[in-house]
């Protein structure tokens, strides 16, 4: 094939272009270099395209870098063995090109058709084995080169291989964070909107046409790159050398982008394509940017890498995240290589930067995010429209009706209705909701966080978290937990009931709804709501989810699909997270879980390996996560029987009730309410099928009952509250077991109801009636009786707000109950957080006990000064009309009555007191309670006493630390010099805050591990032959 001749020539020298119309002589010699690497799928089409160019190439060198497929054979057949160069598999692209151009086939003499027309210019045309040029591609490229002799690097318009209309790139650029940007939306059809030759930063190496002398002057592609971004680096260097790079839109090349999309296995090196790509991008940037722009680029890239890696970890693509970080590490690890690269590129770098800067992309990440979002929405809109059309065609009911008739929605609405009917006006109580085990939560989420950081148990932390979500109002969180707890428990049970059926007989919605209702209306649940036991309600919601996770983790039920190991591990993490929440609220659940894990391990024949690891994980992670509190639990084992909130006594626990799953107390139905459920579960023992389920259910039930009976017999002391344990949680677990057994019976009975045999029908009807009676009786009793129990409205005026002052005086609140005087100290005119008082050192508690006893027993003596030294200035008695303490306090010579209302009576001690007291000999004066306290000068030997046990732990005076002394046997005192000064107090324990931060991080990690992750992109698996267009998931789209 001879080159077309033209009378006129246009050569590389700056000769003016020939006038239009005059024939132009083609004075170019093009050497095409085709690099093939396992590209047999695309080679035939590529070769055909190259060999059928309208302007044919003069030389063709094919370089095969160790292909293992039919590629070399095809090449040898088509091109001829003399033009094929075989290189080792580990050869990089740049090296392959260099070797190819050194091959004799690249320097074959080409006869000159028109020797007198001027010098010919040598061109090198780079081709990939998956880049097929359109027939006119080379012609158009050379045309552009001829028209503008200053152009030395030209690139074509690249379109997709599969979908010939889709435009991939027309010139490539990069942004400051190393992202490859083409300026073209993914999936964009080529309708000529980007047409027009333009100067760009770089063109892709597929179809790049470079003048040979420029190529040799620049040294070709950097061999160290290997693959990816070598074209970008080359073009940048070309710019630095003064050359111009242009993308020619008339020339079209169809490129499959096999390497970047992972369709081709790259044998060059072991590291992942993503890592290599990123590393090369970093080298390109850092090598080519001037020194002045380098630090900013370094910082930006490090930050971008970190953000990208975090996002990949969050979407469970850990391998890609590792690649990302490894690439950064590679670059940072070898500064000498960078220095060498920069030395090689030192010429013209500053100058080119100004030119190149306008080509650099910006806002790439934002654009990509917007694109992916609009993609998702567009897909969803399309689906919805299609579904709507389908529905309109088939006359299905509307969206509202369909949603409302779904069983879970009906279930949730029904349970909510029952709860609201029972609770009547209580959900509207707001901050006044309290009673039983619940102290009214007045204050904000920040108060709860402060309390948690000061040392309260972890359930306060979880409640603080929930309050932060509910607009920062703890009362909203508590109201939600208590009154939405029953519907949520029902929904959780409905979701878990999916596992009840077998493939042959799946659980029907009616049975699942019965299961969920019976679980949600257990006596434990209604009793917990009436007694303000937020902990028990939370555990009831968490329990079915936990059971479902454990079932998936252990692979039970056997007949279902066996979950993959990854899903099992995820289920284990999820179970650990749920058990952490349960442990924080009701520690007994962890003990039950431990026993259940032990029993399961024994009964399942001591499995080892992954199963045992998962069991250990589920049981060991929760205590570790809540660590300092767990140590307290282990030191005082009776605390395992307490639950979140105040330990209030409950009357009404009877042996018969406990056996029938009724813990007794306010809010629970009659003892026989669950008898129907027990009967149904007992009838399940007679079934022939599903025996494992029934036995497992009964085993759980018996174990739970045993724990309930033993726990209910114990009396636990929490501070001053001494009461019997309410066995609600253990009974709920036992009830869950019975429900499991009864569900089997109900399923069988439902089948019998519709089957033949009158006896079977009657039996089935009886069983179903018995099973349904339990939730029905519970619901009716609850609605009729209402939540009349301890939970109620605690009037807000019980603790007046005026007991505050600049020195933050403490208020001692006293109440006589059953002959015993209870006391607590509120500081800062306080808004008390719920639950136990902040942990007070033993010595302080004992001292306060003695002082309160003396005060309440009217023991003559001076109690005012010791009370003032504990920071107390006011004494408050709620409900003074009925409390005998009122008379005693009235008679006390040390107290003056400040005010007396129906809701409270306040007395004042003669000595002013506050959070910070200055002790000067026997006298104590309060100082303004600020973090920076100015102590006036005075006598030597004074001490600043911190009366709040959870207050400041660290003090500095004039920049130096002040050593704390123990005053009065319990309090922290800081010696103050005679000259006075400003003492800076820093409160809270830094250790505690750091630990809380660590706990938060650990919880977040646990959550991430438990959630299902993003699936890897469909184009990433090289084993799949099909390619799917998902530009958002290409390695570059970060």
């Amino acid at each position: 094939m001879s080159p077309t001749t033209d009378p006129r020539t246009a050569g590389p020298a700056a000769r003016p272009a020939a006038p239009a119309g005059a024939p132009v002589t083609d004075r170019h010699v093009v050497t095409a270099v085709l690099v093939a690497h396992d590209g047999a799928a695309w080679l035939p089409a590529t070769l055909k395209a190259v060999l059928t160019q309208t302007r044919p190439v003069q030389r063709l060198v094919a370089v095969d870098t160790g292909s293992r497929d039919r590629g070399p054979a095809v090449l040898r057949e088509v091109v001829g063995p003399g033009n094929v160069l075989t290189l080792p598999r580990t050869t990089g692209f740049g090296e392959a090109l260099a070797e190819g151009l050194r091959h004799p086939a690249a320097t074959l003499p080409v006869p000159d058709d028109d020797p007198g027309a001027g010098a010919r210019s040598e061109w090198v045309w780079l081709l990939h084995d998956d880049s097929a040029p359109a027939p006119t591609a080379l012609d158009r490229l050379l045309h552009a080169a001829t028209r503008d002799p200053g152009l030395t690097v030209l690139g074509p318009k690249v379109r997709d291989w599969d979908d010939r209309r889709v435009l991939l790139e027309l010139g490539v650029t990069v942004d400051g964070a190393g992202r490859r940007d083409t300026g073209i939306d993914p999936g964009e059809f080529d309708q000529g909107q980007h047409d027009g030759d333009r100067e760009v930063l770089a063109v892709g190496s597929a179809g790049m046409l470079v003048r040979r002398d420029v190529w040799e002057r620049l040294g070709g592609f950097d061999l160290a790159f290997g693959l990816f971004r070598d074209d970008l680096d080359f073009c940048w260097r070309a710019h630095a050398a003064g050359e111009r790079v242009m993308a020619v839109s008339d020339a079209v090349v169809h490129h499959a982008e096999a390497a970047r999309r992972g369709l081709r296995r790259i044998g060059m090196a072991a590291d992942s394509p993503r890592r290599r790509d990123r590393r090369n991008a970093l080298y390109t940037l850092f090598g080519n940017l001037p020194a002045r722009a380098l630090p900013a680029a370094l910082l930006r890239n490090v930050q971008a890498s970190a953000v990208r890696a975090a996002r990949l970890v969050a979407t469970k693509r850990t391998a890609e995240a590792r690649a990302e970080l490894a690439a950064l590490a590679d670059v940072l690890r070898s500064p000498w290589r960078l220095r060498r690269m920069r030395a090689e590129r030192s010429g013209g770098r500053m100058h080119v930067y100004r030119t190149v800067r306008r080509h650099l992309a910006s806002g790439v990440a934002r654009r990509r995010l917007a694109e992916s979002l609009s993609d998702r929405f567009a897909a969803r809109d399309a689906r919805r429209r299609a579904a709507a059309e389908r529905r309109a065609a088939s006359d299905e009911p509307g969206w509202a009706r369909r949603t409302l008739t779904r069983p879970p929605v009906l279930l949730g609405l029904g349970l909510t209705a029952v709860t609201l009917a029972a609770a009547r006006s209580l959900p509207a109580a707001g901050t006044e909701l309290g009673g039983g085990a619940l102290v009214p939560a007045r204050g904000g989420a920040s108060d709860l966080w402060t309390a948690y950081l000061a040392g309260e148990p972890p359930y306060v932390g979880f409640l603080a978290l929930l309050s932060t979500v509910t607009f920062g109002k703890p009362w909203l969180a508590v109201t939600l937990l208590l009154f939405a707890g029953v519907p949520l428990a029902g929904l959780a049970a409905y979701r878990a009931s999916r596992l009840l059926g077998s493939p042959r007989r799946p659980a029907r919605p009616a049975e699942r709804a019965w299961f969920a209702t019976a679980y949600a209306l257990l006596p434990t649940a209604t009793g917990a709501v009436a007694q303000g036991r937020v902990g028990t309600v939370t555990v009831l919601v968490v329990l079915p989810l936990f059971a479902a996770r454990v079932a998936r983790m252990t692979g039970l039920p056997r007949h279902g699909a066996v979950p993959e190991p990854v899903r099992r591990a995820r289920a284990a993490w999820g179970a650990a997270l749920l058990l952490t929440v349960a442990l924080a609220f009701v520690p007994l659940t962890w003990v039950l879980a431990l026993l259940a894990a032990g029993a399961a391990w024994l009964l399942l024949d001591r499995p080892g390996g992954a199963a045992r690891r998962h069991l250990v994980l589920v049981v060991a992670v929760p205590p570790l996560l809540l660590l300092p509190w767990t140590l307290g639990l282990l030191r005082h084992p009776s605390r395992f029987l307490l639950e979140a909130g105040v330990h209030a006594p409950v009357r009404g626990t009877t042996p018969d009730g406990v056996l029938l799953l009724n813990p007794g107390g306010p809010g629970t139905p009659a003892a026989w309410a669950m008898a129907g459920l027990a009967a149904a579960a007992a009838s399940a023992l007679l079934l022939r099928t599903r025996r494992t389920t029934v036995l497992a259910g009964w085993l759980i039930a018996l174990g739970g009952l045993l724990v309930a009976v033993l726990a209910g017999a114990l009396t636990v002391t929490n501070g001053a509250d001494r009461a019997a344990v309410w066995p609600g949680t253990a009974l709920a677990v036992a009830a869950a077991g019975l429900l499991l057994a009864a569900a089997t019976a109900v399923a069988r009975a439902a089948d019998a109801l519709t089957g033949p045999g009158r006896l079977a029908r009657i039996g089935g009807a009886l069983v179903v009636a018995a099973a349904v009676s339990a939730p029905a009786v519970a619901a009716v009793t609850w609605v009729v009786r209402g939540v009349d129990g301890p939970l109620g409205r605690v009037p807000a005026g019980t603790v007046p707000d005026f007991l505050a002052g600049p020195h933050a005086p403490g208020t001692l609140v006293l109440r006589t109950r059953d002959g015993r005087v209870g006391h607590t100290v509120l500081r800062d005119g306080a808004r008390p957080a719920l639950g136990d008082p902040a942990p007070v050192p033993e010595a302080a508690a004992r001292r306060l006990d003695g002082l309160v006893a003396a005060l309440a027993g009217a023991r003559p003596g001076d109690d005012a000064a010791p009370l003032a030294r504990m920071g107390i200035e006011y004494v408050l008695v709620p409900d003074p009309g009925r409390d005998p303490l009122t008379a005693v306090l009235d008679a006390s010579p040390e107290l003056t009555r400040e005010s007396r209302a129906a809701a409270f009576g306040v007395w004042r001690l003669p000595v002013p007191a506050g959070r910070l007291m200055l002790l000067d000999g026997p006298s104590a004066t309060p100082l303004p309670a600020r973090d920076a306290v100015a102590v006036p000068p005075g006598a030597p030997g004074r001490t600043l006493l911190v009366t709040d046990p959870s207050g400041a732990t660290h003090a500095t005076l004039g920049g130096r630390d002040v050593e704390a002394r123990t005053v009065d046997g319990w309090a922290r005192g800081y010696p103050v010099p005679a000259a006075g000064g400003t003492l800076r107090l820093s409160g809270g324990s830094v250790v505690r805050q750091a630990w809380t931060g660590a706990q938060a991080v650990a919880l977040a990690v646990l959550l991430v591990l438990a959630l299902p992750g993003a699936r890897p992109g469909p184009g990433a698996d090289p084993r799949r032959g099909r390619r799917r267009r998902s530009p958002a998931l290409t390695p570059d789209a970060a």
């Binding site: 009976v709 033993l710 607590t824 010579p893």
Partner: protein, 463 residues
């Protein structure tokens, strides 16, 4: 065995059992029955027994004594401690030490004790001018009850209110007479300045309950300090003789008025029924020969808010006795005694309990001991040393013993295992028809004070 080939097979025994439905049902039934048995055995849901409070020794005492012959006696064996006797209005202390003290101050004194000497401190005042009048020094409190004659039957009835605290006190007087409660705006809001004694004469002013009270023959007075606390004493000057009214015990359904002296003269029991409901009373006298019901009557009807007077003379037959009043509502009682040329007043009191202390007196005394329920043996130990004397009182009997003048302070202690003992002391001066007497109660020495059980809890914030 590689992990993969080691499939999890259920335990063989469980499989064997699971195969038989009857066996499993039976097993489950047995387990449930066992659980039921356990549930009945253990104390499920039992309310824990209430924790008792503690008793701590008293370490501070405060008493107000009117002017006269004052005797202060600490409990024997009290180590360390200080007793300071100073005038109520302030000034130099008259005594500052740890030992017993007796003198005759001209002004009212305040006895302050701190330390070990404060436990069981006893102080008494007697004065012999119009008649013999004596009283145990009063401790400041919020409420005091007195029963005795009213201005209708006595010449002068004065209420002495002493405020020993640094803040002013405000006192209300509530009175019940033979005709009913004396409700009105009078007698309210009497202010007593710190470190002063305020004497309010009943019937003479609005504070003294106004004119209403002038006709009352019997009076039960309730002195209530609405702010602060006061030590109260009531001095009655009758047509013949004078005496202090002893403080009566708080209203109760069963009360004992000990120490009704024997001999001739009027013996009248005054029972007041505070509140708004009538009461049915059962009155018995416990004499040395046993329990006698005066008049043989069963129950006596007493109206609400009134003081009912009952003549005890016939049933007593000149014997020393104690009176037991049993009612269906809390009542207060006292006794008015007339003998010779003097009057004496007694009131309901509590038992001697762990021990009582009689300060030294230079007058003859008669100690009356009553054991209403169970027999008791009482040991009288002179504080200054000497042989203790044992006195046995049978159940439902009253015993009387003479304590000679100059015996010194006496410790009265029931032996272990004795029933409750009620005691009173009659001081006499002079003799024959000219005898002057006063009746002094013997209260239990306050050596320990009961402190209620306390505990720190957030439940105080929840009703």
């Amino acid at each position: 065995m590689s992990p993969r080939s080691r499939r999890r097979t259920p335990n063989a025994r469980v499989v064997g059992l699971a195969g038989s439905r009857g066996a499993t049902a039976l097993l489950v039934g047995v387990a449930v029955l066992a659980l039921a048995g356990v549930a009945r055995l253990v104390p499920l849901g039992a309310a824990p027994e209430a924790r008792a409070g503690t008793r701590v020794p008293v370490t501070s005492a405060l008493l107000a004594c009117p002017a006269g012959d004052v005797a202060v006696q600490p409990w024997p064996g009290a180590r360390d401690g200080r007793i300071t006797v100073a005038p109520v209005t302030g000034g130099a202390p008259l005594s500052d030490g740890g030992a017993a003290w007796s003198a005759s101050p001209r002004a009212d004194v305040a006895v302050r004790a701190a330390g070990g000497a404060a436990a069981g401190l006893a102080a008494e005042q007697t004065r012999d001018d119009v008649g013999l009048a004596g009283t145990r020094c009063a401790e400041p409190a919020v409420e005091h009850w007195f029963t005795g004659p009213g201005p209708g039957a006595a010449e002068r009835v004065e209420v002495h209110l002493t405020n020993l605290d640094p803040r002013p006190a405000s006192v209300d007087l509530h009175a019940y007479s033979g005709d009913g409660p004396l409700d009105g705006t009078d007698g309210r809001g009497i202010t007593v300045e710190p470190a002063t004694t305020r004497v309010v004469r009943l019937g003479a002013s609005a504070e003294g309950l106004g004119d209403l009270v002038r006709t009352a023959r019997e009076l039960t007075l309730r002195v209530v300090a609405t702010t602060g606390r006061v030590a109260a004493a009531v001095h009655v000057r009758a047509d013949a003789g004078a005496d202090w009214l002893p403080r009566a015990a708080a209203p109760a359904r069963e009360i004992i008025v000990p120490g009704v002296p024997g001999g001739s003269g009027e013996r009248r029991l005054l029972v007041a029924v505070p509140g708004g409901e009538d009461a049915r009373l059962r009155i018995e006298t416990i004499t040395a020969q046993g329990v006698v019901t005066p008049g043989g009557r069963g129950t006596l009807e007493a109206f609400a808010g009134t003081v009912t007077a009952v003549d005890l003379h016939p049933s007593l037959a000149a014997r020393p006795a104690a009176v037991r009043v049993t009612a269906d509502r809390p009542v207060v009682a006292g006794v008015a005694v007339r003998r010779g040329s003097d009057v004496a007043y007694g009131a309901s009191a509590g038992p001697v309990g762990g021990g009582a202390l009689l300060p030294a007196s230079r007058r003859d005394a008669w100690l009356t001991l009553t054991a209403p329920r169970a027999g008791a043996t009482v040991v009288l130990t002179p504080v200054g040393g000497g042989a203790p004397q044992r006195l046995t009182v049978a159940a439902g009997r009253t015993a009387e013993t003479r304590i000679a003048a100059g015996t010194g302070a006496l410790l009265v202690q029931p032996e272990r295992g004795s029933g409750p003992v009620y005691a009173a002391r009659l001081l006499t001066a002079g003799g024959g028809s000219d005898v002057r007497l006063t009746l002094l109660p013997v209260p239990e020495a306050a050596r320990t004070t009961a402190l209620p059980p306390v505990g720190g809890t957030r439940r105080v914030l929840i009703p």
